[in-house]
């Protein structure tokens, strides 16, 4: 089993969950857990909350917004557990890849999600000519 956790500054995590719901449906979106750091809150409280619920038979994939940000820093302490993976720079493609994957190997799933999330970023200024195979 795998549990996806999205933890961010402000409402980004909840926004990603809302968009996930639009794309793959509410029941899938509800399987992820979100944490939103608001002014006056302490991200280490997230760590405490996650630790309290943790189950050694579950793989935890934690997605944070900024590498080295306060949320990411706080949650990185969970890396002492073997069943925790931490990915920073969360985006929608990454989240979709992980949530939809049926591959039981969490390490592979995280690697693939990271690669695909990176390749989904693309700067365009002109229409790109296409010359691939689109015939039957």
């Amino acid at each position: 089993m795998r549990q996806v956790i999205v933890a961010t500054h402000g409402g980004l995590s909840k926004g990603l969950q809302s968009t996930l719901s639009m794309i793959v449906g509410q029941n899938v979106a509800e399987t992820i857990v979100t944490y939103s750091l608001q002014p006056g809150m302490d991200a280490t409280d997230f760590t405490v909350a996650i630790k309290k619920e943790m189950d050694s038979s579950i793989d935890y994939v934690i997605l944070t917004d900024i590498l080295g940000g306060s949320v990411d820093n706080a949650l990185s302490t969970l890396l002492e557990y073997d069943n925790v993976w931490l990915i920073s720079g969360v985006n929608l493609i990454m989240l979709l890849e992980i949530v939809l994957s049926e591959n039981p190997n969490t390490n592979d799933v995280c690697q693939n999600a990271l690669e695909n999330a990176k390749s989904g970023m693309n700067l365009r200024k002109t229409v790109v000519e296409f010359n691939g195979d689109e015939e039957f």
Partner: protein
């Protein structure tokens, strides 16, 4: 092999690309539409939405019908997307019993349509087409995303 045929007025977009191709495990998406093949801009948006490792083909309805009838599509695990009930009807009409499942994913509301589910709106003519498809033995469902419960068109109270 045709795994499913979907009516979605937006054709290929994130929801279809991610959720459906994963769920159905398809390796080919066929956009059957008479205008898209001549519209480079729309073709490009479809290409961007296409998941990696999946082949994308965009052809007018008559060419799709011919390809299916000639067995050119047999080698694919194929998901067909059309943007209207009428085009779905034309495909079924042209291809005998190659299409057995039709999913109504989304059709736009206009002054002439009746709303039958959150994202599906049908004109009288479209109801007639769908009724005929049911008679031809096609399973018609309403289902926006794979995790939604399937609603059988034939069991809907309507009109």
């Amino acid at each position: 092999m045709i795994l499913n045929t979907r009516v979605d007025h937006r054709l290929l977009h994130g929801q279809v690309a991610f959720a459906w191709t994963n769920y159905l495990n398809v390796n080919c998406i066929l956009i059957a539409n008479d205008t898209v093949p001549n519209d480079e801009t729309r073709k490009n948006t479809m290409r961007l939405a296409k998941p990696q490792g999946v082949k994308l083909i965009m052809k007018p309805i008559n060419e799709c019908v011919n390809a299916i009838n000639q067995g050119l599509t047999d080698k694919y695990k194929m998901f067909i997307v059309v943007d209207s009930v009428r085009d779905a009807y034309r495909l079924v009409e042209g291809t005998g019993n190659a299409i057995k499942k039709l999913t109504l994913g989304g059709t736009k509301a206009t002054s002439e349509t009746k709303n039958i589910s959150k994202a599906v709106n049908l004109t009288d003519q479209e109801f007639t087409y769908l009724d005929e498809l049911i008679l031809k033995g096609v399973n018609v469902y309403i289902q926006q995303v794979p995790s939604d419960k399937k609603i059988k068109y034939s069991e809907l109270k309507r009109r």
